[in-house]
């Protein structure tokens, strides 16, 4: 897979509108994979075959893989950079796979080490917000190379459940992706649907899929997620169905149809309160300076 070095400028007639940059966010959370129905090794073989097929569809396609761990995230693979160790091509596996696997192995070991240092309470989720943010920063870099660049999109291969503490960060990333017109596709491997990814795909115009038979994951990936953005309008892709945009109240975490919003901090409550529990504003009264001083002493979510 001899690829030239970082992004040399290419004459315009080579960059037609079906060249893609695919950023794959791979969930490597060991807490999920230890109990998943599909073993991680089989999953990887599906994904590697899929990545190879992307690179074969168009010579100028680019693939970047970011691993989403439970304690850290990092870049694993970039098809446009010179392979670090060409000696890894040992005849049984192309250099792409061995590079990726080696980096992935290093990442997972590092991630596990961090697990021992951190007292994780209520863990189970992976750091989706981190890898989304890194993917978006990388895509901005691609945009900066000039008017000729591949069409970027993000594919999330997620199995771990959503971590509610990441809600604000994930929504920020989604809105930034929407502004930059980068679709976020989601392929959910886990047992339950992911509300975050449903919203992400709906807002950014991507495709959300929860495959029913994980043994055939490669089939799902190559028929649904392999096409470039321009060709998608010629295909019948899974439509967004049943995206629930209702909010949950802060007091009970129930989904509500109608609620009360604090005009200062936009916290959602299901019934009338005298005081907002998030920002401490007293409702129905003009706030004096005395009140705001006590508000600052109160423990705020930020600190």
């Amino acid at each position: 897979m001899g690829r030239s070095a970082v992004m040399a400028p290419v004459p315009s007639k080579l960059y037609s509108d079906d060249v893609s940059l695919l950023v794959v966010l791979l969930d490597t959370n060991p807490f999920f994979w230890s109990t998943a129905s599909l073993p991680f090794s089989k999953f990887l073989s599906h994904v590697l075959a899929f990545l190879n097929s992307i690179l074969l569809i168009n010579q100028l396609n680019q693939v970047v893989v970011i691993a989403t761990g439970c304690n850290s995230c990092n870049f694993i693979f970039d098809s446009s950079s010179v392979p670090a160790n060409p000696n890894l091509e040992n005849g049984r596996m192309p250099a792409l796979c061995s590079n990726l696997l080696q980096k992935l192995e290093e990442f997972v070991t590092g991630d596990e080490k961090l697990s021992k240092e951190v007292l994780a309470a209520g863990i189970g989720s992976s750091l989706l917000s981190g890898s989304l943010s890194m993917a978006l920063c990388y895509i901005q870099r691609v945009f900066r190379t000039g008017p000729l660049h591949p069409q970027p999109r993000i594919l999330c291969l997620q199995g771990s459940p959503d971590g509610p503490e990441q809600y604000v960060a994930v929504m920020n990333a989604i809105f930034s992706a929407q502004r930059s017109m980068v679709p976020i596709d989601s392929c959910v491997i886990g047992a339950q649907h992911s509300a975050f990814l449903q919203q992400a795909s709906y807002i950014t115009g991507g495709v959300y899929l929860k495959p029913q038979q994980l043994d055939g994951l490669f089939q799902y990936l190559s028929t649904v997620f392999a096409t470039d953005l321009h060709s998608r309008r010629f295909l019948q892709l899974p439509k967004p169905a049943g995206v629930d945009f209702r909010a949950s109240c802060f007091c009970h975490k129930n989904t509500i149809d109608m609620g009360y919003i604090c005009s200062v901090c936009l916290s959602i409550f299901c019934k009338h309160h005298k005081k907002c529990s998030t920002c401490g504003s007293v409702f129905g009264q003009a706030q004096s300076d005395g009140n705001s001083a006590t508000d600052r002493k109160r423990k705020t979510p930020e600190t």
């Binding site: 304690n71 951190v118 978006l136 920063c137 960060a169 807002i203 209702r246 909010a247 949950s248 309160h273």
Partner: protein, 433 residues
């Protein structure tokens, strides 16, 4: 390419010399009837010598726009952040903003190409879209000043399309401009809005004078009493009365130097200003979170008054169908939003701190081996020769980022990738769902 060759052969003698090739280039430019050669244009229009500057050793080099842009951005961020302390900022998130457009004689001046009014209309459209993007629960209204009178162009509304449509219509300039009439009109409208909303006026003033029927100082005091925050962006020069108005009401006054500066000043008003605590009464606002109606259901939509198939949202209180969110249900008056609309404003409440510049001496330290690439985009932070370039670091997670990522993170993404990618440095934010 073919045209040029064609002309080369057909134009006969005298066109083959190298010095003449630029004239052929000029022939290719359509609509350029100035009669200057391309090499002459480089002196008259482009002024290439202005983009050079001297460096420390006295050699000439082109201006490094990137670091200048980054320095401007850092000044902006610092001034924004220094006004807030470590505590969570209180910001006016539900804003009712009136934009007052000056359509007096002065707006037809051509110092902004093609005319001040056209430039203003173009940038207001961009501002409106940006405003609703950052403040989905807020509303905008448009007012014009013409012939000494103020008229309402559009009412307060939460959908950008009606305002943009009104702006694209024919706008003519004539007569004098009257600041007092505009303020009176806006004051009357803004008194009717709910008490939890923040009242704001943004005046885009082209004239150098104001022609008022009464005492404008009284009007200014009225606005101050009603807690209306007035800001002015001038297009001509600084005027005392505008400065006085902004100082009294707590707004900001700036004068645009050219079109791009005007755009920058205008977009600075899009994010919510720091709220002055007594200005709006905190209140619980009842809102509905409608579900998307099933595909294939036929119902009459309350905004267009016609039957529509599928799509749309159902008001949870009166079950009327609305086409888009956020909106107010026309039947029962309930404000209808979806949770992403609220989430769009959360980053104003939980901003990320500005990144610190990493001093070059630290980078040259051989013990600091950690960063050879920007953490966000993996761009190398070394220029050829293994010398480090300027980069910034997050004060919380200490990761290094390049200047472009710094700007992107603070202006668009609002997440630090370093803080989000490491669990032990995670700060618990608003929990929902």
């Amino acid at each position: 390419m073919n045209d040029m060759e064609h002309r080369k052969t057909n134009d006969g003698e005298g066109r083959r010399l190298d010095g003449e090739e630029e004239e052929e280039e000029e022939d290719e430019d359509e609509g350029n009837g100035r009669g200057l050669d391309a090499w002459e244009r480089a002196y008259a229009d482009e002024r290439s010598w202005e983009s050079l500057q001297e460096d420390e050793s006295g050699l000439l080099r082109p201006i490094d726009n990137k670091t200048i842009y980054h320095a401007q951005y850092r000044r902006r961020i610092r001034s924004l952040y220094s006004s807030t302390t470590t505590a969570r900022i209180q910001k006016g998130l539900i804003r009712y903003l009136y934009i007052v457009v000056d359509l007096s004689r002065a707006a037809s001046e051509m110092d902004f190409k093609p005319s001040r009014m056209a430039v203003v209309a173009k940038h207001i459209e961009a501002f409106i879209r940006e405003f609703f993007d950052q403040n989905p629960l807020s509303q905008i209204g448009l007012v014009t000043i013409k012939d000494g009178l103020a008229q309402c162009l559009t009412d307060l509304g939460g959908s950008p399309d009606s305002h943009v449509k009104a702006l694209m219509g024919k706008l003519e300039c004539s007569g004098d401009s009257s600041l007092q009439n505009a303020l009176d009109l806006v004051h009357g409208y803004l008194n009717q809005i709910p008490s939890y909303g923040h009242r704001e006026v943004l005046i885009l003033y082209s004239a150098l004078s104001t022609c008022d029927p009464g005492d404008i100082m009284e009007t200014i005091q009225e606005c101050k009493k009603s807690k209306i925050r007035c800001s002015v962006i001038g297009l001509s020069a600084e005027i005392f009365i505008c400065r006085h108005l902004c100082q009294e009401t707590g707004g900001s006054y700036s004068v645009a130097l050219d079109e791009s500066h005007f755009k920058e000043l205008l977009l600075e008003h899009a994010p919510p200003p720091p709220a002055i605590a007594e200005f709006a009464i905190a209140n619980l606002i009842k809102m509905g979170f409608p579900q998307r109606a099933a595909e294939g259901v036929i119902s009459i939509c309350s905004c267009h008054k016609e039957a529509k198939v599928g799509g749309g949202y159902t008001c949870p209180r009166c079950k009327a169908r609305v086409c888009e969110l956020p909106t107010e249900c026309r039947i029962c008056g309930l404000t209808l939003v979806s949770s992403p609309h609220l989430a769009r404003s959360y980053h104003h409440l939980f901003p990320i701190p500005p990144f610190d510049e990493v001093s070059l001496s630290l980078l040259n330290n051989p013990h600091q081996r950690s960063s050879r690439a920007c953490f966000g985009c993996q761009e190398s932070l070394l220029i050829p020769g293994n010398k480090p370039t300027l980069c910034v670091a997050c004060p919380k997670c200490k990761q290094h980022f390049c200047l472009d990522c710094d700007i992107y993170i603070h202006e668009s993404l609002h997440n630090c990738p370093g803080c989000e990618s490491f669990r032990h440095s995670k700060i618990v934010s608003v929990t929902e769902e």
